[in-house]
Amino acid sequence: MPTRRWHLTFPEDLVQEPIVYRLVRDYDLVINLRRADVDHEVGWILLEVKGENAQLDGGRRYLEDVGVTVSDAGGDVLLG
């Protein structure tokens, strides 16, 4: 099953939203949290996500649409 490693960054207004829950419920993704730092203002989560490609793409689109920044676990890949 395809696997991705995502780094999610949340703005303040999304810190209280059940984002990860929605990835599991709405996109049928298997989530494994590896590290996180979330407080009342901002937060980030590093997680492993498993699922079919269509689900992974849909989950990522959902995250980006609601305002979560998603990148590869190692940071941006496209460089100067």
Binding site: T9, R34, R35, T69, S71, L78, L79, G80
Partner: protein
């Protein structure tokens, strides 16, 4: 060969030498671990000075895998670029002992040749025959050039709306150049997925721990060219933040290895205001690196989610340095100031460095008497579009001597 393995910068778990860049346990970044005791016995100022006039004079201090010989180095002659005094720029900025590390004079005209040269050497040792990267400019040029010279296949991913001149500077070396339609984020996402799917050496992904070590050679060279002394202050441009972190690491290693006397150094970082997640995180006091959507003329520094941001902040805080950011107008001003005072034509990242240095001096955040080195990382001929609107002939005349005399008289 003094590489012992890889270690996670976050949880400290160790990993074997392989094409892997994040810790399997916590997804933290992996870094090369060396046997410094063995390295200290092997290296000396004398041995280094007898080495090639390239970054390979420091091969003992780079992540060469067991069995690597000089013939295995993917070598276009990167590194050992000039470190020049910059008295006229220093006078203009109010710095009494300013130097410029001129990395415009690398084989593909940017510091990326350092990291790519090391990355592809390790990649070949690991058995790869294909190199890859995703880039809007310097990295694409460098991977294309080095892969060609090494006889490796190359896949280079670029945004489809990239300017023609930037495409040419990679295409000429004959890589498979894949133009991806979509936004910056789309290209980033696709390339992250491709990097995990194919058995290639994706230089800034699966071979990143080795690739990043190439930047240490800037620090080694600066110290050697100053007569085996550390500068009191160094300022570097920041995209991912990796270069700054590795220069700091180089200074630490030189002390550990007994190659220089331990004297205090400060490291400062420069960003463009249109993409300043690292300097903002430091200067707003939060230390939280919030990803941004890049919007700056300094395309080579346009990394919205920098991998080494936290480590750059740590290095700057620990050494007592500073960070700043500058507008597009200030960047152009920085390019022109450097060119007009020292005769060095830098790309936009150089303008960022010079303009940020000027700003930090004005703000009193830099000791004006400290021996300061400014790292100029790429050549201006790659970003002529940034300065072209401001530059034109100073005089346009008819082909007559009197026309010239008249025009020149106007200048008196």
């Amino acid at each position: 060969m003094f590489v012992e393995g890889l270690r996670c910068r976050e949880c400290g778990r160790e990993a074997e030498i392989a094409a892997v860049h994040v810790c399997e346990f916590c997804f933290g970044p992996l870094e090369v671990v060396y046997d410094y005791e063995g390295m200290a016995k092997a290296v000396s100022r004398d041995r280094i000075s007898k080495g090639p006039r390239s970054l390979w004079r420091y091969a003992d201090m780079l992540p060469m895998l067991p069995g690597t010989t000089e013939a295995d180095h993917v070598d276009l002659g990167a590194g050992y670029t000039p470190l020049v005094r910059a008295p006229r720029l220093g006078a203009k900025l109010g710095l009494r002992d300013l130097w410029v590390k001129n990395d415009t004079l690398n084989p593909s005209f940017s510091f990326k040749d350092r990291v790519v040269s090391v990355a592809l050497t390790v990649a070949r040792s690991l058995g790869f025959d294909t190199a890859a990267c995703a880039s809007t400019g310097n990295l694409a040029n460098s991977v294309s050039a080095h892969a060609a010279a090494a006889g490796m296949d190359a896949y280079v991913f670029i945004p489809s709306d990239l300017e023609e001149t930037k495409i040419l500077a990679s295409a000429v070396y004959g890589p498979k150049l894949v133009a991806v339609k979509g936004t910056y984020d789309d290209v980033n996402r696709l390339c992250g997925e491709i990097a995990g799917e194919f058995g290639w050496a994706f230089v800034n992904v699966n071979v990143r721990p080795y690739y990043a070590e190439g930047s240490k050679t800037i620090g080694y060279e600066v110290a050697e060219q100053l007569g085996w002394q550390l500068p009191e202050h160094l300022i570097a441009p920041m995209a991912s933040g990796s270069m700054l972190v590795k220069i700091d690491k180089a200074f630490t290693e030189l002390v550990t290895l007994g190659l220089v006397e331990e004297t205090p150094w400060r490291i400062s970082g420069a960003q463009a205001t249109g993409c300043a997640p690292i300097s903002t995180a430091l200067n707003d006091g939060t230390g939280f690196v919030r990803p941004v959507k890049p919007d700056t003329v300094a395309k080579s520094l346009a990394i919205g989610n920098p991998a080494d941001g936290y480590y750059a902040i740590d290095a700057v805080r620990r050494t007592g340095g500073a960070m700043g950011d500058v507008s597009d107008d200030e960047i152009i001003g920085g390019i022109r100031t450097l060119a007009e005072t020292e005769g060095i034509f830098a790309e936009t990242a150089g303008g960022v460095t010079v303009a940020t240095l000027a700003k930090l001096v004005e703000q009193g955040r830099i000791d004006p008497s400290a021996r300061t080195v400014a790292v100029i990382s790429g050549i201006g001929l790659k970003t002529t579009d940034a300065v072209a609107p401001m530059l034109s002939p100073t005089h346009t005349i008819n082909a007559g001597l009197s026309d010239f005399q008249e025009a020149v008289k106007l200048d008196d």
